[in-house]
């Protein structure tokens, strides 16, 4: 190890150069690994039915929009898309609204019942939702929450809440309590200190849990299929029937579902880095 410390400056520069090549190579390799399957999905979605079942496969799309346009022209797709966005947005707001205060409390205070609460939150995620769907649906039908966007968002929030609580917890834990204390000594109230000092630092974590909340809600099928009838979400609308549709429609439907989620991730991506500037000062 000490060899590195004693190495001449030139060698360090060389190593740095080699290191940056390695870095770039790694990024490219990882990007290909992630993008290749997506590319293949798109190739299939943009191929004609015959090409999808043909062998050998083509690695380039023939830009046949027949299958995709089937979905786009499908009666009710626009409304389902709107419902999906609505439910996912509500889920995002609810899970951050409930989750972030809880994450803050867990990270800053020691109090009886803390362990129990963390446990309760994790249990939520460890239990299969399709089994809970029956009692939840009965409850919703009795209370009138059935077949509403807010009702479904509440169910999706139970799935997203553990992410919100735990991610914000680990983020707040990473922010030195001294920062907050310094703000108090400068005359800030607890709330002011939180808003002005902590919140900006916690933004990436909040963005991360927003991404989770949104994509969880976006991709959830079972509860959506049971709890929405008139107001079907896009996932319930498409995936319901996808499993048994001909292959070319499966791929087109799969691609149609992926695209909006990608747009959302793209939109919030920059918040993940919001604090890099601060940490780098």
């Amino acid at each position: 190890m000490s060899a590195v410390a004693e190495a001449p400056v030139v060698a360090t520069a060389d190593a740095r150069k080699a290191g940056s090549w390695l870095l770039v190579a790694t990024v490219i390799l990882l990007s290909v690994w992630v993008l290749l399957p997506i590319y293949l999905l798109i190739v299939n979605a943009l191929s004609s039915p015959e090409e999808v079942t043909a062998f050998p496969k083509r690695f380039f799309p023939s830009f046949d929009f027949g299958s995709l346009s089937f979905f786009i022209n499908f009666a009710g797709v626009g409304r389902a898309l709107w419902n999906s966005v609505l439910v996912a947005t509500l889920t995002m707001i609810l899970s951050i609204g409930f989750g972030a205060p809880a994450g803050y409390a867990l990270s800053r205070f020691d109090f009886p019942g803390k362990g129990t609460f963390r446990f309760l939150v994790l249990m939520t995620r460890a239990f299969p939702l399709p089994l809970l769907a029956l009692p939840l649906a009965v409850m919703f039908i009795r209370t009138g929450l059935d077949d509403t966007a807010i009702g479904l968002a509440l169910v999706h929030t139970t799935l997203a809440l553990p992410f919100a609580v735990l991610i914000t917890f680990s983020l707040f834990s990473g922010i030195p309590v001294e920062l907050e204390e310094a703000a108090w000594t400068l005359g800030c109230t607890r709330l002011q200190a939180f808003r002005k000092v902590i919140l900006p630092l916690a933004l990436p974590g909040i963005a991360a849990s927003a991404i989770f909340a949104f994509t969880i809600s976006w991709n959830e099928v079972f509860a959506a299929a049971v709890l929405t009838i008139e107001n079907r979400t896009l996932t319930a609308f498409l995936l319901q029937s996808l499993g048994e549709s001909p292959l070319y429609l499966k791929f087109a439907g799969g691609a149609a579902l992926v695209i909006p989620a990608l747009i959302f991730i793209f939109a919030v991506r920059k918040y993940l880095f919001a604090m890099w500037g601060i940490a780098n000062r």
Partner: protein, 421 residues
């Protein structure tokens, strides 16, 4: 922060505004799930109904969960249910008696109507449409057909020999079978293999004849594409050419015939020593007790049985009518191929019809599992045939006794629970 609040408020307001009452009949169905079929059900089959219909499909899990929730809550939005015979058996007690529904002058298939009572005195569901399983082959496979074999009278032994020929000449096994998680393999064992070899579905479950049947199937399995454990619909592997000869539900073969009508032939299920066992698939329509508008629901049920509706349904779903109608000529290629083949199969001198399980109530799923488990253990797991059948027979007997179900065809009617010898 403020922007977030405004957004939340707006979203909330909208979400409340969206949910509203509607005068449509909600048709909650497990059938016609492939998107194109759903589309046709809405735009062609149900459009002429006087009074709007909202045709919604769901997978079996959500379908049942939603229905159970409405029944437990005591009120609901589902007007009419569509499903297979097996889908209704669990919820029989909560279905309205349909014997009073005026179906006009149409003549319903009596055997299916009796199935619709679910072993009670009431008409729990009315038959809606029917299908069965057939064999399909790529025309390239015909050159390997053993000499002297007529597809219309094919036997299991001939099928094995044929599949062997294909495998040996092309270098890979090309018989296909829907043994995936969503494949309908259980119906093959219950309604085709067992009746063909034992002349029975339940009583002779562990007989010597049954052992022969499983051993024959194991033989066939050697020439079966190992990917079969992933297949749910045989139309796809038929189209890709992974499989040349396949057995499946007609609705799950249809796409191959419609996409490439000149490349495939349909033929009857094979015969065994005891006959040419075959089983129908019956879908029905029913009304749950919580249906919000009984009269409209009953009107929709009657509408589904009208000859014009039945023909439109056939075009949309490849399920055949359950009422007496004459089929017009403008049918899809799949229907043109399947219609005559079904007639050949059901009219064959050795035809041996098997009925869907009756009177099992919510044990229907476990009944199927007995056959699926036997398959997975004997054929996939390579376990001893005799031993497995002994164990599975005990499970079968326990559940038949619990349901106190008497025998159904091809087993002889029994006093009390159907015996498992």
């Amino acid at each position: 922060m403020n922007a977030l609040k405004t957004l939340a408020g707006a979203a909330l307001a909208l979400s409340i505004a969206i949910g509203g009452a509607q005068a449509q009949v909600l048709f909650w169905s497990t059938q016609a799930r492939p998107v194109e079929e759903t589309q046709k059900m809405r735009s062609e089959v149900l459009k002429a109904f006087n009074g709007q219909v909202d045709y919604q499909v769901a997978e079996d899990g959500p379908w049942l969960t939603r229905l159970q929730a409405e029944l437990q809550a005591g009120s609901g939005t589902i007007g009419v249910l569509g499903g297979l015979h097996g889908d209704f058996s669990t919820v029989g007690a909560d279905l309205v008696d349909l014997s009073g529904v005026d179906v006009g002058g149409v003549k319903l298939n009596e055997a299916y109507k009796k199935l619709g009572t679910l072993g009670t005195g009431e008409q729990k569901y009315l038959p809606w449409m029917q299908a069965t399983f057939l064999m399909a082959a790529n025309k390239q496979a015909l050159q390997y057909l053993p000499a002297g074999v007529d597809l219309n009278t094919i036997t299991y032994d001939q099928l094995i020999e044929w599949s062997k020929n294909i495998a040996e000449n092309t270098g890979s096994p090309k018989f296909g079978f829907p043994a995936g998680p969503k494949g309908l393999k259980h119906r093959f064992f219950e309604g085709f293999l067992y009746p063909s070899y034992t002349g029975s579905m339940v009583t002779k479950f562990r007989s010597a004849e049954a052992e022969t049947a499983w051993n024959k199937f194991k033989e066939l399995w050697q020439f079966t594409n190992p990917n079969s454990t992933n297949y749910a619909f045989m139309q796809e592997p038929l189209l890709t050419g992974e499989v040349w000869v396949a057995f499946d539900h007609v609705a799950r073969l249809a796409d191959a015939f419609n996409q490439k009508p000149d490349e495939f032939v349909a033929f009857p299920a094979p015969a065994g020593p005891a006959g040419r066992g075959y089983m129908p698939v019956v879908a029905g329509v029913a009304i749950p007790k919580t249906s919000p508008d009984m009269d409209k629901a009953k009107a929709l049920v009657a509408y589904m049985l009208k000859p014009e509706t039945q023909i439109a349904t056939l075009k949309a779903t490849n399920f055949f009518p359950v009422v007496d109608v004459k089929l017009p000529d403008d049918m899809p290629a799949s229907v043109k191929a399947f219609g005559p083949t079904i007639t050949t199969m059901t009219g064959a001198p050795d035809a041996l019809p098997a009925l869907l399980p009756m009177g099992l109530g919510d044990l229907g799923g476990k009944f199927n599992q007995v056959y699926v488990d036997s398959f997975e253990r004997i054929v996939l797991g390579g376990q001893d045939v005799h031993g497995v059948l002994e164990e599975q027979a005990a499970a079968l007997k326990a559940l038949i006794d619990k349901a106190k179900a008497s025998c159904w065809a091809p087993d002889k009617p029994s006093e009390g629970a159907c015996p498992v010898d």
